[in-house]
Amino acid sequence: MKLNELTIDQAQEGLFRGDFSSVELVRACLARIKKADSRIKAFITVCEKKALNQAREADQQLRKGIKKRLLGIPVAFKDLFVTEGIKTTAGSQVLADFIPQYDATVVRRFKEAGAIVVGKTNLDAWGHGSSGENSAFGATRNPWNQEYVPGGSSSGSGAALAAGMCLAATGTDTGSSIRLPASFCNLVGMKNTYGRVSRFGVIAMASSFDCPGCLTKTVKDQAAILEIISGQDGADATMPDQKVPDYSRILSQETGSLKIGLPKEYFNRGIDNEVGDLVKKAIRKIIDLSGGEIIPVSLPHTKYAMPCYYILVPSEISSNLARYDGIRYGRGRDKFGDEAKRRIMLGTYALSAGYYDAFYLKAQKIRTLIKRDFEKVFSKVDVIMAPTSPTLPFKLGEKTNDPLAMYLSDILVCPVNIAGIPALNLPVGFSKNGLPVGMQIIGSQFSEEKLLRIGYTYEQATEWYKIKPKI
């Protein structure tokens, strides 16, 4: 097997045993980038020199027997995470030449664990999008079939990881942006509980929704990284004082018999047949493995989730993007792309005098109702399972002229963000034409360990991650 196709877990074993060096591992990723990224467009910035220097240092530490949890492992950061001395664009022309003075907490924790930064990945500008096509630096293509989108907004992170250009890549999930690319690219991705992972240094989209996290090849890698990046940092005031469990150690503990809720509203909504069949097959498999039963449940306010989301999120966006004045850093407001302009105007409108009560306050109250729907269901079941996307990955250009159709791609994922709860995307197989399908396991706030355990049990029995795209 090629080095760049290893999981973090496998690569670490090889590095600690001395089977290969970090320089060789990083070179394998850089070689893949050189070979394929002119077509895939997963990266905005590649840090070849810096990465090789860091890898040499990692090799020295490895030779001394120093053990850090990600020592010598090449990773990529979505270009919303600020990185000291490395250009950070947010996928927008506004920040096309912005070089931050500090690292985001997530970046700092990756570096402290010994990870190597191979580069910054492409995205829908500011995180606004579900396909990657809103990037000012070109649309990313899905490594499984380059006519299709990789899912957004963490489009470059999904594509880079699926194509073997790094061993893990960060993402942010405000409404779908980790789970959708994970689903479209045969990867594991978790939208963590709001406040599990620090937002410090992550360019803000909608501050009461934004959840930084990571895309990984396996659940095992996901658990290892969550352990590293979770927990208070003193810089994000919205993080509860919640202990960080030893996610990787408890991974192999038995899940016990499961009560699995299937919301009727999620399965009624024009789910593509192939997607529905693969998800149901995966749920049956999980019940075979862990024992348990399916319990039909209802989340009655589901149909209001999209309008609620698209009032609250653009409102917060209009406020967060107001800081871009082209005076302290970045270029002028004329450099915003269409989608950012649309969302700034929607939000400004919803917050403007006379409309605040009808739109913003109303949506905040509906947010309470949606959150309560989930709380009620979780008093009866352990987890909820549902498709991540109602459809297979779509083609580039298919939805670009219809913003509303694009927004509706997130219909099964955004209620989770409204309620602040965690959801794990797992690969569950492929369509007849070879496109990946994902399922999400949704839990109550701070139930990440439960989701990871279920995911790990399923992953060991199915090993979808072993199938790689041909590029």
Partner: protein
């Protein structure tokens, strides 16, 4: 939500763009008016929900009044660092356009 919100007109879009400090071309105004109207139409369904007795949620894990503990402040940017990305500066300050100057 009253029916007057149903259709956005170009005048409203121009006003919103002005509030948000966005300069739009006539073509953009026309395009965004149509697109934003469609999206706002989609929001009308929220009016069906009775929220008379419902409190609003702005912090989803229920935190309130979080303040930093007294003690050492964190790292601050030095002046040169803070100015490093500024497109225009003057003697250690950000340079801005005159506020009282006539356009």
């Amino acid at each position: 939500m009253s029916s007057k919100l149903k259709k956005l007109n170009q005048k409203q879009v121009r006003r919103v763009a002005d509030l948000a400090k966005l300069t739009l071309t006539a073509k953009e105004i026309a395009k965004f008016t149509a697109q934003l109207s469609t999206i706002l139409d989609h929001f009308q369904s929220l009016a069906e929900v009775n929220t008379a007795e419902v409190e609003s949620t702005s912090q989803v894990t229920g935190l309130r009044n979080v303040t930093r503990q007294d003690g050492k402040p964190g790292r601050c940017l030095a002046s040169a660092e803070a100015l490093a990305d500024a497109p225009a500066k003057h003697q250690g300050y950000f340079k801005v356009k005159g506020i009282f100057e006539k356009k």
